[in-house]
Symmetry: C2
Subunit: 196 residues, 2 copies
């Protein structure tokens, strides 16, 4: 049962790419099987329907990625505020999988799917909650270490930073250039310094 798992994975990976570029609703199953060169029979053998595949993309692809690229850098012994800034700078300016014109995959799916599918909503909620909690933990650690002011509200500050990230990703889609990221990053640095 090795090859079967491989086709399932290629479906997920190629479908994710298409959805990341085109959106979920506008990516058809015919589209997916055309680029994967997998037949419709194979597709529906692995997934009950389109939505089940979509959920698998979130749970089987995005969640592991989140743990690696988004949460890992927050679980560090380094200076918390520097770690947060570096994470954002890395995600926005250096990450090779995220393209400025396509924005943030999780934010895109949230925008498109929350009204339609409760399961998507739940999965995306779990996904973001993990990231949020990781940042909250880091800020709390910074407070106990004396690197962040005690009167800083960790959840508040986290929501503020995360909102900025999702928002600037959307501005990136609009401008189609990483240039817009720069003023955001500069001011993020200014803001983070005020938390010391």
């Amino acid at each position: 049962m090795k090859k079967a798992e491989a086709t399932r994975l290629t479906i997920l990976e190629k479908a994710f790419e298409l959805i990341y570029m085109q959106g979920y609703q506008t990516t058809s199953i015919d589209d997916i099987i055309a680029t994967t060169k997998v037949t419709k029979g194979a597709f529906y053998y692995h997934f009950k329907n389109k939505d089940e595949m979509g959920l698998s993309i979130i749970n089987d692809l995005l969640k592991p990625t989140l743990a690696g690229s988004f949460i890992g850098p927050l679980q560090t012994d380094a200076d918390p505020l520097t770690a947060i800034y570096n994470l954002m700078h890395n995600l926005l300016m250096e990450n090779e999988f995220l393209k400025v014109e396509y924005g943030c995959p999780a934010a895109n799916l949230t925008h498109e799917m929350t009204s339609w599918n409760a399961d998507f909503n739940k999965a995306l909620n779990e996904l973001t909650r993990q990231w949020i909690d990781a940042m909250i933990d880091l800020i709390e650690r910074g407070k106990t270490d004396g690197l962040i002011r005690k009167d800083v509200n960790a959840r508040q500050a986290t929501m503020f930073v995360m909102s900025g990230y999702w928002g600037i990703r959307n501005f990136g889609k609009l401008e189609r250039s990483k240039e817009v990221y720069l003023p955001y990053l500069n001011e993020l640095k200014n803001y983070l310094e005020t938390l010391r």
Copy 2:
């Protein structure tokens, strides 16, 4: 030519509502003519195709609204930082047309349309640029009035605040409750105070 203009306007208004709730791609023309009780012949008399109607929504409906609810409050003689906070608080917590579960119309359209339609991109770019410029002007005025520090970069600060707004609107769609707005607004207030 009064009644004709009225039908055109009802099409735009009802279509906007549907698109705001459901998204652009997933709102069909049959959907629109069903809720407006306008026939397909009437629809295609007023609009060449679906995209032309979409553009008219941005240019004929959203732009005037933006001027009123979004830009007007920034053209004030009051304290700039208080004005910015009050605007955001009003938009997020009090505005009766914007629903937490549907997010920000302009942000939604940006998410959905930028990759597909260059005209949409241009129209949305103009729309947001107007709002951005208004906030930049207000911050600059605050600097000359001595209400904001001279070393504050107006464009940077504006992009930071606007990103946060678009981002928290998306978190609202995810959580489906204005509760998420509160930590954001609190921290926004903290941030704005650091600009004095």
